[in-house]
Symmetry: none
Subunit: 227 residues, 2 copies
Amino acid sequence: MTNEGSILIIDDEVQIRRLLEITLSANGYNISEASTGKDGLLLAASLNPVLIILDLGLPDSDGLEILKKLREWYQKPVIILSVRNSEDDIVKALDYGANDYLTKPFRTGELLARIRVAIRQSQSIPDKPTLEFGSLIIDLANHTARKNNELIKLTTTEFSLLALLAKNEGRVLTHQYILKEVWGMGYIEQTQYLRVFIAQLRKKVEEDPAKPKLLNTESGIGYRFGS
Amino acid sequence: MTNEGSILIIDDEVQIRRLLEITLSANGYNISEASTGKDGLLLAASLNPVLIILDLGLPDSDGLEILKKLREWYQKPVIILSVRNSEDDIVKALDYGANDYLTKPFRTGELLARIRVAIRQSQSIPDKPTLEFGSLIIDLANHTARKNNELIKLTTTEFSLLALLAKNEGRVLTHQYILKEVWGMGYIEQTQYLRVFIAQLRKKVEEDPAKPKLLNTESGIGYRFGS
DNA sequence: TCGGGCTTTATAAAATCTTTATACTCCCCA
DNA sequence: TGGGGAGTATAAAGATTTTATAAAGCCCGA
């Protein structure tokens, strides 16, 4: 795969993409590009790049939302490149999981150095792309899950729910928290959604859906994955 | 142990140190300070801080040299804080092993966010606080309790009751107080509820429910956890 | 238009809480 | 010394809340 180890640029401005493409290529990186948040997410999932450069001012969606969605499964570095220079924007982006934040216009040498820092750090941290629980293997980067080595067909919502719970193995997550993370702020009261999807997941993931070992319910509170 | 997890500031300017000290302390970090590179290196070695904030413009030595020396053994994050704003300085510092680079004057909120990023990357999630009583472990944040490392199944009410008593280990809590805290103001007279739930808890938590060691009754007054 | 996936509804089942019933324990005093 | 009462323990029945699951309806993209 030629794009193994590439850097993904998500930015709507053509000239910025061109500049980055030239600069980064000249320094030995493979480049992939997306001009919208949606494309960016898709490309990120399919290419699994070593680093993502993300513009906050995308036309189709809020950059922070893209960042949050990315961070549900993408552990490698994300560097924000934005014209926004307010402290609030910077702090939010960093707290949402960005590794670094540069304001446009930026100095290419500095960007390159910060890319080196980010990649250097991500390599020292051992990659944990899959979560394993007995015969169940969840691959966060590829959005897939396997039981006894067979691929389980999961919808997007089912996968985020499973991934959220699995990433918090042993912890009790409240209904509200799960609904907020998977469906969004406006769905905090839709506990029934959660019940429906948990039931579906159990059918797909558990040996015996009637006696769940992975997706445990904490009556009156929420759900807990495992132990 | 008090300096375990502290942040070391190496900067010769008193007012910067004072500012950082106030800001960082207010955000729950322990602070250590050095005004020269030499002291900084010594302190770093003796304290092993979780993060170092390093000024490049030290009087006794070149900041980059300090960084280089630090990096011979120190793997945790180093954030550079400097008046120097040239691309060359920034690139060099980052390539010498700095994790981040901020130019003075800096915005404290941004610095704090970048500190969080650096610490987040350098350490995995710390375990949440738990209450431990021999073989019984109560995890308040997770709403779980374990006896001999096995999860005990507790209902919401049972858990709040156990948690309330455990948090007040050794103290006698009156019936009324417990009822008010767990059930609410309107239940102060329902002493029987309490008896029922204490009995249930003892069955689940005590080695010998007939001879309780944790959930002790103070006849005529209330209950006491432990000692 | 079709079909997959999400939302909504309906209902059965399970879990939990409340109430009742009965027995036990301790302590005081005749 | 042993009977009585206040306070306590516990099981179990009844009531209520919460959860599981199937299935119907809806919506959107191919």
